[in-house]
């Protein structure tokens, strides 16, 4: 218990200490997760919306695949990305291993099924009568999709929020493909593991509190933007 309360106060102390090393870690966490979320949203929302609106035969199978993907263990994703980006792997020439690019790549793979799968579910929940109505008013296909997405916005935002929570707190993959290099690929979660490993429990708790705080602020911001209608 001692460690917990000390960790909490140390978190406050750290935040206000303006320690450049800490801010570097926080910024890198946000940058890696932000980029991964951006890409998986840009790909995942259209894919999810298309799947939700289309009547393809294989939709059931694709749904199972996406939902299974939501359960992908991050370490397995990390190992896969590691083997792909390894110098002796197919994409070794990129030189991405042990850089933030590798971490973003892994997190996109983790976030994509969440974003697209939950978007699909949200879109499917929209009353089909809406599409008929919009089309009868002369909407183009794109306008129709947009109208449905707008109607499903609660679910779409929930999808993005879920993906954000999934990857900002993820450690297995970024540890493996990033390598936890100080000042280069060390993020909040890998720093927490490092401090736990070396027995600096209160510092680990402090970083955990900061991570939670960031997630809280990010979620408040996203829900604010979503509107209260």
């Amino acid at each position: 218990m001692d460690e917990l309360s000390r960790g909490f106060f140390q978190a406050l102390e750290l935040i206000f200490s303006a320690d450049p090393a800490l801010y570097e870690i926080i910024f890198l966490s946000l940058r890696v997760t932000g980029l991964a979320l951006l890409f998986s949203t840009l790909i995942g929302v259209p894919v999810g919306a298309t799947l939700g609106l289309s009547r393809v035969r294989a939709r059931g199978f694709i749904t199972v695949l996406l939902y299974t993907g939501m359960g992908l263990p991050p370490v397995v994703v990390g190992l896969f990305v590691y083997l792909m980006l390894s110098r002796s792997g197919p994409f070794g020439a990129l030189g991405w291993l042990f850089t933030p690019s590798a971490m973003v790549t892994a997190q996109i793979i983790i976030a994509f099924p969440l974003v697209s799968g939950l978007t699909m579910a949200a879109v499917q929940g929209v009353d089909p009568a809406l599409r008929v109505q919009v089309r009868s008013l002369g909407a183009t296909r794109a306008q129709e999709v947009w109208a449905v997405l707008r109607e499903a916005r609660l679910g779409v935002v929930a999808a993005i929020v879920a993906a954000f929570g999934g990857i900002i707190s993820e450690v297995g993959a970024v540890m493996l493909v990033g390598g936890n290099i100080e000042g280069k690929t060390r993020v909040l979660t890998t720093a927490i593991v490092l401090n736990t490993r070396t027995g600096e429990f209160s510092l680990a708790i402090a970083l955990g509190v900061i991570l939670l705080g960031l997630a809280f602020v990010a979620n408040v911001a996203m829900l604010r933007l979503q509107g209260k209608e």
Binding site: P20, R31, G92, P100, R150
Partner: protein, 317 residues
């Protein structure tokens, strides 16, 4: 209803800005309180931290990837000596600190330029497989057997690791093994083999954790179990292990009478003929630098927070 469109645009904007925001500007080194060694190592003779943006990290010139065991990084040694190399060679060293098993695996795939590890048998195999041209002795320390103060296996005063492990097995006293293919785990297995015991998961008292040295020591402390540790990690964590004491190996390396507990570290530059993209020039420079008289002196002079020497230079001059 306009708000959803606004939300999408705003989200994209926020993420984009977040992604592209410039790295924090270099701030003067702060004197970090001693309680947070891993965020800002206080032991290093403070080079100003140089923050790297993603782009800088991707495009900036020289990087040398050092794959090494957790003990060299977690003990603070690398943070102490590496700034000298980075200054002299104008090349940043990226430290990947993992168990020796994984460190060698990373080298085997050509994903590191140079290795600093401690498992002689696997190092020799690495040389044999042509993954490096030569292995160099660089430094050593020793392993110790630690355990609970009440010492249920009665090994206080035992000088040989093998005798101690035998007594632990006979007493069926709880033992924590790294179980992670690390150099320390390999040393433990060698000692078990020398007394013809092959511990398995079926033994109630034997726990194979599959974790790092720090976690294993912490678990032993919680459970009142014996374990084998490298002295460096033990010393750096003693304050957090109130229930454990050193039972074999004494208070410093000169009191350790058992040759089987000797823990040499090997340095190997990855063979550039075998993999594309190896930074061979800097890797060789790094090897030369590590073996140089000055660096060897620096290694021998490094003291941890508690003022103890953790590594002893061992290069042939």
């Amino acid at each position: 209803m306009k708000r959803f469109g606004f939300f999408v645009v705003a989200l994209a904007f926020v993420l984009f800005v977040g992604a592209c925001a410039p790295a924090p500007t270099p701030a003067p080194p702060t004197t970090a309180p001693a309680a947070k060694p891993t965020v800002a190592p206080t032991t290093a003779p403070a080079p100003a931290p140089t923050p790297t943006s993603i782009r800088a990290a991707l495009t900036s010139g020289c990087h040398l990837i050092l794959s090494t065991t957790t003990s060299t990084a977690d003990s603070g040694l690398l943070a102490f000596i590496l700034p000298d190399f980075e200054k002299k060679s104008n090349c940043k060293v990226d430290v990947i600190a993992v168990g020796t098993g994984q460190a060698i695996q990373i080298g085997q795939k050509g994903d590191a330029d140079v290795l600093l590890v401690h498992d002689r048998a696997r190092e020799d195999q690495f040389v044999k497989d042509g993954n490096t041209k030569e292995r160099f002795d660089v430094m050593y320390n020793d392993f110790i057997v630690v355990g609970p103060k009440n010492d249920p296996a009665k090994i206080t005063g035992v000088t040989m690791g093998a005798d101690a492990l035998k007594a632990i097995a006979n007493a069926k006293a709880a033992f924590m093994s790294r179980g992670d293919g690390s150099g320390t785990h390999a040393a433990e297995m060698r000692i078990w083999a020398s007394v013809n015991i092959s511990p398995t998961k079926d033994l109630q008292w034997y726990n194979s954790l599959g974790q790092g040295m720090g976690e294993t020591l912490l678990s032993s402390n919680e459970k009142g179990a014996y374990t084998i540790a490298d002295r460096g990690t033990w010393l750096s964590m003693t304050g957090k292990l109130p229930n454990l004491v050193v039972l074999v190996g004494g208070n410093d390396i000169s009191q350790n009478k058992d040759k089987a507990l000797f823990n040499p570290y090997g340095l190997m530059a990855v063979n550039p003929d075998k993999f594309k993209g190896i930074n061979a020039e800097k890797a060789n420079e790094f090897v030369k630098w590590m073996l140089s008289v000055e660096t060897q002196k620096m290694i021998g002079s490094y003291k941890d927070k508690t003022g103890q020497i953790l590594f002893y230079p061992h290069a042939k001059q």
